[in-house]
Symmetry: C2
Subunit: 109 residues, 2 copies
């Protein structure tokens, strides 16, 4: 679909790409995490983006169906074009030491 093509090109344009909501504390936390590590992510605030609703719905189909009904898809982090996931998964990989190598391989660090 057109939206999936749009997402594909968005996640290819930067080593780290974050789909976010401008007023969401979890999204704020993941942005702060990356910036604190010296990474400059491309951030797309879906509540402010012209195609935000379509992108949000597409991400919800990709991701949302594998998580509990009460949870949303955001934030979603892509590193080197690959979906790394939620704040929880990013934090877990940061703690177990797999995040830094991933960022280096993608040229973000």
């Amino acid at each position: 679909s057109e939206t999936l093509v749009r997402i594909e090109s968005m996640v290819a344009e930067n080593a780290v790409v974050i789909f976010s909501l401008s007023t969401c504390s979890m999204c704020h936390a993941v942005k702060r995490l990356f910036r604190g590590m010296g990474v400059s992510p491309a951030v797309h605030e879906l509540d402010l983006h012209p195609y935000g609703v379509d992108i949000h719905r597409a991400l919800l189909r990709f991701i949302g169906c594998s998580s509990p009904a009460s949870q949303g898809p955001l934030p979603v982090v892509f590193i080197g074009g690959k979906m790394v996931g939620s704040l929880e998964r990013v934090m877990a990989s940061h703690i177990n030491g797999s995040l830094v190598p991933l960022l280096k391989d993608a040229g973000a660090l």
Copy 2:
């Protein structure tokens, strides 16, 4: 104003009252915290409430002006009719032991 009167009556009708967003992880966490303690809070999901927008704006005026511009007001917790605050403040009082006495005084435990 009419909205403030509405909020006043809403926070009076239960020992613990939470203003929340149904899709917000921080709101989900504060609800889970109270339910895990055996408390039954009255939860008002402002994104689903007929007067949600007005209530949200009123809370933002009350609270939002005292916090950084990028932060929103939700979740907001009232215990015994008094504003206890954000998830951060509720967690802090839980950790320092002041939450349980507060809940007991309000008849929530």
